[in-house]
């Protein structure tokens, strides 16, 4: 089996930096170069050259290839839309590869008009992973154990965090991913999109959650409630007793139906990142704010860092298995702050935020 050029969540062990043009200017044939974007995607797909045991024809219809292509298209369309909303900075793309199989493309926008830092990271990897890694990668991973032996796997994922300057513009995170153990014995999808404002605007929350409820409802009427609750549980900063933000949807280990159906759901969810998030940013990007509001945002950024470094499965796993640190920690804000024992006064918007972070609300 031969697979190249790819990416997982930040869960990536043993990478080597790779010159940008090695991927961008790949000499692989692009059979249907319609637009520049389509061409890039095609090149990536074609980079997965068939070997003797593994012909392109066989693999074209595989979930691996479909998911990788969908994620790459989402990376391109989302970063394009974000650049348009930002109106200032452009994404920089770094391609990298893993020593042990696969690689990725990180797109990072820094110091934009709207965003302080925004990163969208595609990774497509394969190799073998320790049991511990399998466990860390899933909600109930221990059940997928294999008598302690290393597990051959393929994984692809697109993960993103965007931190705006303005404290009235929320941070947004999403991640969609597909795992498969060799031979397809085990496979599952995971993902979600969640929002982290510093101040609560109820209309914004209704819009964001409402958009994802509609996405969910198109695929399963039980998805939204289940995945909204899952996000509220997952994004808990346990030592604070508060969530990092106002949630969204989160799911893992999803493999209870035809993979094609789950793929369509992931695609729909990834394609609604911009409709769910973009209008909120457009609405607030020119809002006036005070120094106190900026300081409160910085404290919330501190909480974001705490969640990501102490609890986030992908981050911790990635860091502890020699993942590409810069791609993993792309998720951290450019600036964050901690004050000793800071308590917002009762009745303030900051206290209102904390209340909602401690007691998750139903927005739709």
């Amino acid at each position: 089996m031969r697979l190249s050029l790819l990416c997982l969540i930040p869960v990536v062990a043993g990478f080597q930096p790779m010159p940008l043009n090695r991927l961008a200017l790949s000499t692989m044939m692009a059979t249907k170069p319609a637009t520049e974007e389509a061409m890039s995607v095609q090149k990536i797909v074609n980079d997965n050259l068939p070997s003797e045991e593994d012909t392109l024809a066989e693999r074209d219809g595989s979930m691996r290839v479909k998911m990788e292509q969908m994620l790459r298209e989402a990376q391109i369309s989302i970063t394009k839309a974000i650049e348009e909303i930002d109106g200032g900075a452009k994404f920089r793309e770094d391609a990298w590869e893993r020593n042990t199989g696969g690689g990725g493309k990180s797109r990072v926008l820094a110091n934009g008009k709207v965003w302080e830092k925004a990163g969208v990271n595609l990774s497509v990897v394969h190799g073998t992973m320790p049991q511990e890694a399998l466990k860390a990668a899933t909600e109930r991973g221990a059940t997928r154990s294999n008598n302690g032996e290393e597990v051959p796997f393929f994984a692809c994922g697109l993960s993103c965090v965007m931190h705006p300057h303005n404290p009235h513009c929320p941070t947004m995170h999403f991640n969609y991913r597909y795992f498969e153990t060799e031979g397809g014995e085990h496979w599952w999808f995971g993902g979600g999109t969640d929002i982290t404002p510093s101040y609560i605007d109820e209309d914004d929350m209704k819009h964001f959650h409402g958009t994802y409820k509609e996405v969910c409802d198109r695929h399963d009427p039980e998805y939204y409630n289940k995945f909204k609750k899952w996000a509220d549980e997952y994004f808990l900063i346990q030592h604070r007793g508060e969530r990092r933000g106002m949630g969204g949807i989160f799911f893992d280990d999803l493999n209870d139906r035809d993979p094609e159906e789950i793929f369509e759901f992931c695609k729909d969810a990834a394609n609604h990142v911009v409709p769910a998030y973009g209008p909120i940013i457009e609405k607030h990007k020119n809002d006036a704010y005070t120094e106190e509001q900026k300081q409160w945002q910085q404290l919330r950024r501190g909480r974001y860092v705490e969640f990501n470094l102490v609890y986030d499965r992908g981050t911790i796993f990635g860091l502890k298995t020699n993942g590409r640190t810069e791609s993993i920690l792309m998720s951290l804000p450019e600036t964050a702050s901690w004050l000793y024992d800071h308590q917002p006064e009762a009745g303030t918007p900051e206290a209102e935020f904390l209340d909602a972070a401690r007691n998750p609300r139903e927005w739709v």
Copy 2:
């Protein structure tokens, strides 16, 4: 056995806030009130009232009482010296207690003339701890296992982090602690003092390491080399391949000789925090600096956060066992920053720093 008012490293499960004056205005007799400081210490010692099974006479000579008193005196003398160097802000003291036994006193200085944030946390706790906790608390803790049962313990510790504003003034951390399992079956000391500048000043490093080499040499000619190396290993940010700073001394699980001897070493080390660190701050506190130097300091602060939240044993254990979050995370800087893939240019002082963080040097 009855012990009250205490504190461990931040390793403290199940606390309740406690009004300051409950401790400060304790009505316990102070038999030898010489100075205000001595009085405070005396009050704390006397708070450990004898019960029927445990008379004060018996306990006066115990290592528990000696260590607690030494640490409380160090907390008082160090915070007093730091206030004098700062010349602006004063430490605020919060007393707190654990539901399950003991408590602590956190002293925090915020927004001083010299220090952005400085915290010195005394904790003296007792109760039972899970095996996992025992393991997390020691370098080779697994060997102290007890067939999976909860372990009754006593622990006291003084821990401190100080982050100055000026990028030419280093951050400093120390921690000295004593653990004992019930009945004194197992006991050990741990601790160390380490320094984290943003720029290397060789004379400063010689002074800091030299001071601790002298302290070590007074107790064992092998201590400095051993504990300097241990610090270089412990403070490694593994996913970066770099240390958070320029080290110092670090030791854990120390119980290879008469506890009185180790106690004297810890006392000497705690009492040399100010002589090791103070002159460096006095020398640099009025240094001019550029915005670029401040930004570099902020990136190093980001690394400090990464180390503390991802690797520091006391922090992670404390957070995951319902320790008092504000006392644990007192160690985080007020501000920190992350830039994607930041690489200092070769030949700059920033690149020089990184080289020394990657390849620990011998300073004395």
